[in-house]
């Protein structure tokens, strides 16, 4: 038996989410006798990702599909690849012609926009259910996941032979790399998968990715978010300044995104990103349930809002009822002095 973990990466480095998925996979493995963890890396010219993965303890095998068609992750190409891997229940190791018989019990990846895109497609090909956004492992077939924007937590049990899962990475601590990162003599064997034909149904045209020197939103220790109360894009400069002082990431409410103050990938909430930093500072955000759904994993929440009845104060640890246009400059000044 084995658990297939599908890696998140950008063809250069493994993304932090994968280390949380590894933790979730290890927790599942504890409930199964004699199981292995296999990491699947699908990409193009992704040797450095493979090298990095070889430094992960606990992996029995790394499967690599390094091919031009995977330069950008397309569900139409990824899903058949995973399907065939699991369907064949084995794969050929080219070098020494060993046919390994493997039975995959779980296919697991992070609930980022890539995993959410292909995992349901994989599940449907296998004729099994998919379980989204798990936040805890109860047993090999039972998981907890939020429903209704996190207003309830459901415990669900699967009767399928193969469980296809996405993991809310903020709910699991990240597994660590061994010190032999990039170790050439790593024990983890790498299996190159045969090339596959392009589906011909979809093509990548362009990406408009947000460039930022600030920490990544979902892994940052501190997140500062602005809402409609920020009034315009220019005023977000106040948050950027503060974020740079605190080495924080900047997030936003849907209203701020819709109003065009910031890019869509800054949105936090039920339908945006889920964050769980040490410190979350909500500025000019009312605290709609859909927004709060994305922040309740935060250790400490601070709310700055001039409406004493704003619902955000119900979930905040520290509440400052004040005008943000007075608070932010003051905060920036205080931190400048301390620096």
């Amino acid at each position: 038996m084995a658990i297939l973990i599908v890696a998140d990466h950008d063809n250069h480095t493994l993304q932090a989410a994968t280390f949380s998925v590894l933790t979730a996979a290890s927790e599942i493995a504890k409930h199964i006798r004699d199981t292995e963890l296999h990491l699947l890396i699908i990409g193009d010219e992704c040797q450095s990702v493979v090298a990095m993965a070889q430094g992960i303890t606990g992996l029995s095998k790394i499967l690599v599909s390094d091919h031009q068609i995977h330069q950008y992750p397309l569900a139409e190409n990824i899903a058949p690849l995973i399907f065939s891997l699991v369907q064949e229940q084995g794969h050929c190791n080219d070098e020494n012609r060993v046919f390994d018989k493997v039975e995959y019990s779980h296919i697991i990846t992070s609930a980022g926009t890539t995993g959410k895109d292909y995992q349901p497609r994989v599940a449907a090909l296998l004729d099994v259910a998919q379980i989204s956004d798990i936040i805890s492992v109860e047993s090999a077939d039972t998981f907890k996941r939020p429903i209704y924007a996190g207003k309830a937590i459901a415990t669900v049990q699967s009767s399928d032979a193969i469980k296809v899962l996405t993991v809310r990475s903020s709910a699991f601590t990240a597994a660590s790399l061994t010190t032999e990162l990039l170790a050439i003599e790593s024990q983890v064997p790498v299996v190159a998968l045969a090339a596959q034909a392009d589906s011909g149904k979809s093509a990548f045209i362009k990406a408009e990715l947000t460039q930022s020197s600030r920490p990544e939103l979902t892994t940052a220790k501190i997140v500062i978010s602005g809402g409609r109360g920020m009034q315009n894009a220019d005023n977000f400069e106040l948050l950027y300044t503060l974020a740079d002082q605190l080495n924080a990431a900047v997030g936003a409410s849907r209203a701020a995104v819709d109003a065009g103050f910031v890019a869509n990938d800054l949105q936090i909430g039920q339908t945006g990103k889920i964050v769980a930093p040490e410190l979350y500072i909500a500025v000019g955000i009312s605290g709609a349930i859909q927004h709060v759904a994305g922040i309740t994993g935060s250790k400490v929440i601070v709310a700055i809002n001039n409406d004493p009845d704003a619902p955000i104060f119900d979930v905040a640890d520290y509440c400052l009822v004040a005008d943000l246009f007075e608070v932010l400059p003051e905060l920036i000044a205080v931190l400048k002095v301390k620096d």
Binding site: G112, P120, K201
Partner: protein, 245 residues
């Protein structure tokens, strides 16, 4: 060109849902129901395409109880042409929804199937992708812009973790929509009246040849841990002090 739009009936997003005391589910008795907000955006988009002349027919499809005709009428009042209600009182899980929609796709042969990217009750975000797998169509998930182009292609801009990505999909295709695609209209009174005369065809999973086979059992539904009420801080100085910034 024909667009099929999937519509789910859910608890209205403004309702403050409560977990049942016996932890078997959510309190849904006497709770206001509505079209899933993402499905509403899908309907709006299909109707806009029709108004622009790029689409000839917009067909809505809903799987749910007979009361779901209220949501379908609301969708028809946006300007959709007709609707199909696949009646069932059972809980239908994503894979079965996709299988039922697959049957409808085989009957209707739409050029595009538009769905919401997720339903706000289960928050699954699966059905469109599953339907794409079953129909062997390409998929454009989390769409914030959709443009038809020749030959037989649709360009979909997707909201992804790093920003935006644009794909070209060959038709027929499945597209799931995100909030930013459009702002749904309020149906006008004349259109609401007109919608009353539009056809809603009734069928059932069984008549379509799909026997529901739920794979997931919900063992328990509980309230999330509540955060302790916080403390008020008087000013910036106190906040900085408390946070030890």
């Amino acid at each position: 060109m024909k667009i099929l739009v999937a519509v789910k009936r859910v608890v209205d997003h403004k309702v403050n849902v409560r977990v049942k005391a016996d932890e078997t589910g959510i309190e849904t008795a006497n709770v206001k129901m509505a079209i899933n907000p993402f499905c509403e955006i899908a309907i709006e988009q299909a109707v806009r395409f029709k108004e622009q002349g790029s689409v000839d027919e917009v067909v809505l499809v809903c799987i749910g109880p007979k009361e779901a005709d209220v949501q379908l009428r609301a969708g028809l009042a946006f300007g959709a042409d007709r609707a199909i209600l696949i009646r069932t009182d059972e809980e239908v899980q994503s894979l079965d929804v996709a299988k039922i929609l697959h049957k409808i796709v085989q009957e209707e042969l739409p050029d595009v199937v538009l769905l919401g990217k997720q339903a706000i009750d289960t928050d699954n975000n699966q059905t469109g992708q599953m339907l794409a797998a079953l129909t062997n169509m390409p998929q454009g998930t989390f769409a914030s812009n959709i443009v038809f182009s020749v030959p037989n292609t649709v360009k979909v801009t997707r909201e992804v973790d790093g920003g935006l990505v644009t794909l070209a999909l060959s038709l027929p295709a499945v597209i799931t929509v995100d909030l930013r695609l459009n702002i749904p209209r309020y149906a006008s009174l004349p259109n609401i009246m007109k919608a009353k005369r539009k056809v809603i065809t009734m069928t059932s999973p069984v008549s379509l040849g799909v026997s529901l086979s739920p794979r997931l059992t919900t063992l328990k539904v509980e309230s999330p841990p509540v955060r302790q009420a916080g403390v008020k801080v008087a000013d910036v100085a106190e906040l900085v002090d408390k946070l030890q910034l």
